[in-house]
């Protein structure tokens, strides 16, 4: 047992740090650190910088253009990029679809799609959830019917997806669709790649409670999808979906970001006057921060224990559910304490400032302006990617055997 980073790992951290210092654009950094909303161009910009360096896909093997870093290196990478205020790399292509294609895709699919994920030519979104199928995902209904006519063979897709994150930026969507209704519900599902520009695909924005446009409904009305866009075998989509979900949970703990947010919270509290000096000197407030800090330290080590036991490239086990639960609870708690810190300045709702149409906040201070919206938005964290209740079901079934 040795909980220090070894010399190679420390060296790697230095290398990463100097790369970020030289390459992360200051405007992006400022937006991220101040909880402002990012545009499609913002995400693309950072993605392409990483692409040029060969670091955009830390988890991919070299043969596909990845960086092939070890789990601990990936942890360091995540910690350093988030610490510096770099945007997340949108994970749908890199973390989710990429690994599925590598494992189950045809040669043609890999050759075509993987490079386009890396160079950001394709922006993918994830079409899993439906209005009637959330936690019980396998009950999904969107249908894909195999049709052969004079124009050849294709799937005819009808149905609706929902909660589709950033679909408004995407040109491609990977979907779970029902190809058979006669089998057990998990067995009639297939994994289909659909071009969002296809005729019959339409979008409707869903505005979240912080008045942001982050998610969408996606409708499929007699959409023709080439049969070559099927991944793996028909009716085995559930297997691929589960494989993908296990990758979706890569970095699910988001320790790096929470560490940055904790620093942010403390700076905020140290510059907020109170009867004891600063708010951080107030014993009642300090207690809340200290308890959270201890929880986060434990999360960081737990995360490292899980990722470093992830021998080679095997799939993360059900322990990841624990990281999801604790990680999101920590994130949510941080947002709560930030709002508490700014007190009355949590009231103004300054959309123009949030979306970059005005440089300074309407009142209070610029750091305070986005915090309530951020808090509201982060209620999502314990819902998406399999709600925390579902994660507890996974733990009790898969780990505890109940």
């Amino acid at each position: 047992m040795n909980l220090e980073y070894d010399a190679k790992e420390q060296q790697f951290r230095k290398q990463v740090r100097s790369f970020i210092e030289a390459n992360l654009p200051a405007d992006l950094r400022a937006k991220v650190l101040n909880h402002k909303r990012l545009t499609r161009e913002d995400y693309r910009k950072w993605h392409l910088i990483l692409y040029a360096q060969g670091w955009v896909a830390p988890n991919w093997p070299r043969e596909y253009g990845g960086a092939a870093w070890t789990p601990v290196q990936r942890h360091i990478w995540e910690e350093e990029t988030t610490r510096a205020g770099a945007p997340n790399v949108i994970s749908f292509g890199i973390n989710m679809l990429g690994p599925v294609l590598m494992e189950f895709g045809t040669k043609a699919q890999k050759d075509h799609y993987l490079p386009r994920i890396l160079n950001c030519e394709d922006w993918w979104c994830q079409g899993y959830s439906e209005p009637g199928s959330g936690s019980d995902l396998a009950s999904l209904k969107t249908s894909a019917e195999w049709i052969e006519d004079e124009s050849g063979a294709y799937y005819l897709v009808n149905g609706q997806k929902t909660w589709t994150t950033l679909a408004q930026h995407a040109n491609m969507i990977f979907c779970l669709v029902r190809t058979t209704t006669s089998m057990r519900k998990q067995e009639g599902i297939s994994f289909l790649l659909i071009n969002m520009k296809s005729q019959g695909v339409s979008l409707r924005p869903i505005i979240t409670l912080d008045e942001d446009h982050e998610i969408n409904e996606v409708f499929f009305d007699n959409v023709r999808v080439p049969v070559d866009n099927l991944v793996g075998e028909e009716n085995l989509g559930w297997t691929y979906a589960k494989y993908l979900l296990s990758h979706e949970r890569n970095n699910v703990a988001e320790v790096g970001r929470s560490k940055r947010e904790l620093r942010f919270l403390k700076h905020l509290a140290m510059t907020t006057p109170s009867q004891n000096g600063s708010l951080l000197d107030d014993p009642l407030f300090a207690r809340k921060v200290a308890l959270l800090e201890a929880e986060m330290m434990a999360l960081e080590i737990t995360n490292l224990r899980v990722v470093s036991s992830d021998h080679g490239n095997s799939e993360p086990g059900p322990e990841v559910s624990m990281l999801k639960i604790v990680g999101t609870e920590v994130q949510q708690r941080l947002t709560e304490l930030m709002v508490e810190t700014v007190g009355p300045y949590s009231l103004p709702f300054d959309v123009d400032f949030l979306e970059g149409r005005r440089e300074t906040a309407v009142t209070g201070h610029d750091a305070a302006a986005p915090l309530t919206a951020h808090y509201l938005n982060f209620r999502k964290a314990s819902i998406y990617g399999g709600s925390n209740e579902i994660q507890k079901n996974i733990i009790s079934r898969m780990i505890l055997g109940l």
Binding site: L280, A286, A290, E295, K392, I395, L402
Partner: protein
């Protein structure tokens, strides 16, 4: 970075677990608790034969020079077995002696071979968890140190051959400066002990010092400069306590999980109810989160980076303390009526978990301490 135990660490902890299962069962422990001394000579010899007492003693004194990380698996195993012998007290005592290794080489050797048992007499009526709050006095008289005062809730004080005692040579009650440590044979004249049981099956003592005369050779470290040593040893003890608590929580969670699968009500195992499944899942998380910080605490247990050490140890005491309370309370609840019975081992696990915060500082104490460290005040 490496979270696995080394081969030696794993081997030791395996051997120890097997020995404890065979020689230190629940009934054996019950008899020990009921016995006059509250400790079992045979068990003590057994632990000593396994090398457990020599473990933290430096190699030059025939010990194994174990690190904090080496102690992790040991304390975890002792936690599972709910050991009531004065092991932790002796090990903490050894940690003190190591700060004045030359002077106490003889005693360290004896401790390593299990011949003497140690206890740390630091707490006083007014001091709560602040070990620098010392009223006990000492003055020089005819070349001897003369100690007067009273130490309270000295864990295993009744069973120790030597006590590590703090006394004030200068300054006011709550000054960190001016404290001196002494190593006191427990049969010395002027020392009066009141022994009692503790709620978790151990023994402790209140100890009165009335003109106890000590030669200068009994002084540990420089006069008036004991505080950094006390602080460091206390942190080391905290790290060991955390590992012990993790062992207990793991054991009691395993037992409870078995119970949920076995106990049937309303025609099915109670573990089939989601209300209990989710609570068990939460307890699983509690233990893993606590284990993470206990491991971290073990790895910094003896660090010279004082404020970083304090910060980490306090975080561990906070998080493990929270887990200990929650796990303890929940497992009783999930056992239903039978959890209330003293015949059940789960009740004894609960009792030991319940005293966690009373030993080296509760959550509020460690929160306040953590919040005083530069690491907390000045995030980089």
């Amino acid at each position: 970075m490496d979270f696995t135990l080394t081969e030696e660490q794993a081997q030791l902890s395996d051997t120890l677990c097997r020995w404890l299962e065979k020689e230190y069962g629940f009934e054996q422990r019950r008899d020990t608790i009921a016995s006059k001394n509250g400790t079992c000579a045979r068990a003590w010899t057994g632990l000593s034969d396994l090398g457990l007492l020599a473990l933290p003693v430096p190699e030059v004194l025939n010990g194994f020079g174990a690190s904090g990380a080496d102690m992790f698996g040991v304390m975890e195993a002792l936690g599972k077995a709910l050991l009531v012998e004065p092991y932790l007290a002796t090990v903490s005592g050894i940690e003190f002696l190591k700060h004045d290794q030359d002077r106490f080489a003889g005693l360290l050797g004896q401790a390593a071979s299990g011949v003497v048992r140690l206890a740390c007499a630091l707490g006083e009526r007014q001091s709560r968890f602040d070990r620098f709050d010392v009223e006990m006095t000492t003055r020089i008289e005819g070349g001897a140190h003369v100690l007067n005062g009273r130490k309270t809730v000295v864990v295993h004080g009744a069973q120790a051959d030597h006590l590590i005692v703090s006394a004030r040579t200068a300054g006011n009650t709550r000054d960190p400066d001016g404290i001196t440590l002494f190593v006191v044979p427990s049969d010395i004249r002027g020392l009066c002990r009141t022994d009692y049981r503790t709620i978790d099956g151990m023994r402790a003592a209140d100890i009165e010092f009335a003109n106890v005369r000590l030669p200068d050779s009994a002084r540990l470290g420089a006069a008036g400069e004991a505080w950094p040593i006390i602080d460091a040893v206390s942190d080391y003890t905290c790290a060991l306590l955390c590992a012990e608590a993790v062992g207990i929580m793991q054991a009691v969670n395993d037992t409870t999980l078995e119970y949920l699968k076995m106990r049937r009500q309303f025609d099915q195992p109670i573990g089939a109810y989601q209300a209990l499944q989710h609570r068990m899942a939460e307890l699983f998380i509690e233990v893993e989160q606590a284990r993470s910080l206990a491991m971290l605490a073990a790895s910094v247990a003896r660090s010279d980076e004082t404020s970083k050490r304090r910060h980490t140890i306090s975080a561990a005491m906070i998080r493990v303390g929270q887990a200990a309370t929650r796990v303890g309370q929940e497992v009783i609840q999930m056992h239903g009526g039978i959890g209330m019975s003293n015949e059940m081992q789960v009740a004894h696990y609960f009792k030991r978990l319940s005293v966690f915060g009373a030993l080296e500082g509760d959550i509020d104490h460690h929160v306040a301490r953590l919040a005083r460290q530069p690491e907390f005040r000045h995030p980089d």
